[in-house]
Amino acid sequence: MEPVLSVQNLSKNYGLVQALKNVSFNVPAGSVFGILGPNGSGKTTLLGIILDIIVPLGGQYSWFGGMDAVAARRQIGSLLETPNFYHYMSAFDNLAISAAIKQRGADDRIAVLEKTGLLQRKDSKFQTYSLGMKQRLAIAGTLLGGSRVLVFDEPTNGLDPAGITEIRELIRKLNSEGTTIIMASHLLDEVEKVCTHVAILKQGKLLVDGPVADVLRSDDLLEVKAADMAGLHNILQSMNGIKNIQAVSDLLLLKCETEIKASDINRYCMDKGIVLTHLVLKKKSLETRFMELTN
């Protein structure tokens, strides 16, 4: 299937600072595409360029296989950095402007305000909203007219824990209904929880991109211990499927092929007459993987 968004060799400088360096990737239709990176890695610049807010130094992007960019934006709901609304107008009136620009009827304003829990405050002026409510209103705005694609920059910024969960649920639900979602985040945990694909940026460079399972995959580690450590070391060396054995203080750290399970190790040692006193499967944390990637 044609990618929803295709980005080729985007570059951007702010004075002497290179904010983006030749970034290219495709966003598959139907994915939740996370753009992950530490603060200042170029995430917002990247989103700004694909929404024509920022002028790139070089490179191209195309939506929906080359649709006119302005027409494409009317089918995209975006939340960039901060919620931007007319402070003297109510939520309801503000959404009327967004709907008019998107060339959609203003009929689904009630529905999107209800989805984001703002219906009761629809007639309050934007300037009376709390930070979290402003963020919710911005998300409500992106849902107007049933967008094909949603672009979110740090969507859970400023929300309380309940709000964060709600928004994640909303993202999952919309995605299951077929909406493609592109979101920038510096929160690994968030990306891991909701994204199907990820691109990792560091200092404007694209380090890696692809399905989350591939990019963030890491080998599992097994910790084992027995009374007879030398014997244990000995027999494990001859076991198939163990890639690496490392002695760390009083235990052994095993790196195994994926098909080897903890139970296989246990049974193998039993058969060889060694009883394990300690057997722990250690998943390498996402943070460790992220640090590996970005360092």
Binding site: D52, Y86, A96, S98, I101
Partner: protein, 263 residues
């Protein structure tokens, strides 16, 4: 086109500042003229009333055009506030994110400039007709000198276009208003004086931004004095062309900046 203006209207209709400034314009302009006519406000020399002579046709057009031009400053400030607000609250970004092109955003503001200019011109025309009729007793010579109303339109277009450009360049409301007022009241006059002093034959200073259109609507008293001093006729056509040229320059400058700059 009409949809751009319709969306601008959605932004305007809930904005109190807009209504307040428009009300000031609508109420104060006829009130001011009435006070001059009735002698409440006057420039007098030796007990002679000097500026209340001209509220009958055809003099009323030049008179009301001049006083109207002062009130255009109010509308210019409104344009600056409306545009700078978009930058301050980043709604200019939201408009583009939601599906306007950058050019559509700019054209919506240009249309606002035109709409304000047309509305103000129509209002000045109606006021002129009423004052003129009240003081002439008939409409017989009404269309004599009515080109001053067209000059007023050019004047508004120049001022509002310049104000739009200033707010696009500076982006901040307070600073834009300050620079705008500084230019029209101080800098423009200094430049005009210097240029006209050094280029006496050509009066280059009269063609400065916002000056060429002011030359079209001179202070009625000065016009009378110039007549007495038997000065040659003013190069009106040149001022009209210069004003149109400046308006076009403001358009392309604003457009160029908005298309090239990061938002």
């Amino acid at each position: 086109m009409s949809s751009l203006l319709a969306i601008e209207w959605l932004k305007l209709k809930r904005y109190n500042t807009f209504w307040i400034l428009i009300c000031f314009f609508i109420v104060l302009l006829p009130l001011w003229n009435y006070c001059i006519l009735s002698g409440g406000i006057n420039v007098s020399g030796n007990g002679m009333k000097l500026i209340n002579q001209t509220y009958s046709f055809p003099g009323v057009w030049g008179n009301i055009g001049f006083w109207g031009s002062l009130f255009v400053v109010l509308l210019s400030i409104l344009i600056i506030i409306l545009t700078a607000n978009e930058f301050t609250f980043r709604t200019h970004r939201q408009n583009v994110i939601d599906g306007w092109s950058r050019l559509q955003f700019f054209h919506a503001k240009i249309l606002l400039v035109f709409a304000f200019s047309v509305a103000a011109t129509v209002y000045v025309f109606i006021l002129g007709a009423i004052f003129g009729y009240a003081n002439s007793g008939s409409f017989s010579s009404m269309f004599e000198g009515v080109e001053k109303v067209f000059y007023f339109f050019l004047f508004s277009l120049n001022y509002l276009g310049f104000a739009l450009l200033a707010s696009i360049v500076i982006r901040r409301s307070g600073l834009s208003i300050g620079m705008f007022l500084l230019y029209i009241f101080i800098i423009k006059n200094i430049l005009k004086g210097v240029l006209n002093f050094t280029n006496n034959d050509w009066n280059v200073g009269n063609y400065l931004p916002l000056q060429s259109c002011s030359e079209l609507l001179p202070f009625p008293l000065f016009e009378m004095l110039k007549g007495l001093m038997k000065q040659g006729p003013q190069p009106t056509t040149a001022y009209v062309l210069a004003s149109i040229a400046w308006a076009i320059i403001y358009y392309f400058a604003g457009r160029g900046i908005l298309l090239k700059r990061d938002w």
